[in-house]
Subunit: 141 residues, 3 copies
């Protein structure tokens, strides 16, 4: 049985959706010995998220950022949590919409992603620091 | 210890939310020998999603489709990824909102769903093909 | 190998987002013997959800409730599932947006939550009863 856990640090990214598949798989637990398993990725923050999305056309990631800014605008009149800047409360809303974790099947030593699926860091803050992801691999050899 | 993985193929569905509990459990790993575990379902696409929702009144699934079409309209002026049709970019947004995977507890050989919970395929494209789900069962006997 | 499963009952909460980290960890499986693992929390309902969000300022949870009420209003003209009250169909939409489960890494006997992350019960109904969560712990000693 395999149980491995590592902490991945992603360097600061500008606000928006970013493809980080290679970086996450490089820093995460070694998958090659895992025949059947699951890779769990958990971001330890409340204003950045993880999602899977289209990995080819960067316009998709731009459109995601633009659409989330329409659905969750800054300076909405009903926000009371406003002391940390206009990008802060929208960041918390986007985070609960997108979620803090991903769980990806592992098959024969590889993540069983679809052809067009990539791992995205969704950075909701204007000026964020590095982001921490706890990566847990479990499975059988 | 149990680790089983199968690939489920769902035949093409029209755009909308569809109850697929029986079909998924029929094609997925056999649960009967699993005393405590988790069934992980992972759709390998970026324009169709999985969710759990009400399994009784089909109007709920119609309302979900209608409401997502309001929150994520076609032809929004901020979309730049438009070459694959007006239903394509909304499909990617809906997919990140709903997510690509479900993880369902297994108890005494059965999925521990609530009385009203069913597994839904959320098909976001107008003319989609078959959809592939990787189903991973882990647990103890 | 550890596989433990318990059912957590949360007493009725008013509509809104509620911090329940302590209550969930108190009622859930004992984490102290788990060196590396995952704690899976699954709410068996279609009109209440679980999420991780900011654990310090209660205004964040108020803003989340207010913002979801804007994104998913009562009495929208496209709702057809209306017989169970104006808060019912919005509850189902909020549930699929937020999701029914959380999966939290466990490290050295503790949940590996970030400093500001707390477990929230998102109660979408005006007058809900108690809510049931199936908590599954897996990992190694």
């Amino acid at each position: 049985m395999i149980w491995e856990q590592t902490t991945i640090t992603l360097s600061p990214h500008p606000r928006g959706f970013h493809l980080v598949t290679d970086e996450v798989l490089r820093q995460g637990p070694e998958l090659s010995g895992c025949k059947v398993g699951l890779l769990h990725l958990f971001i330890q923050h409340t204003s950045a998220s993880l999602c899977l999305s289209e990995n080819a056309d960067p316009d998709v990631r731009g459109d995601l950022e633009r659409h989330f800014n329409v659905m969750v605008p800054e300076n909405a009149p009903h926000y009371e949590h406003v002391t940390e800047g206009p990008d802060d409360m929208p960041a918390h809303v986007k985070n609960v919409l997108l979620g803090s974790s991903l769980s990806i099947p592992v098959s024969n030593g590889h993540p069983a992603l679809g052809t067009w699926q990539g791992i995205c860091l969704c950075e909701h803050r204007d000026r964020a620091g590095a982001r921490r992801i706890v990566a847990t691999l479990q499975g059988r050899e």
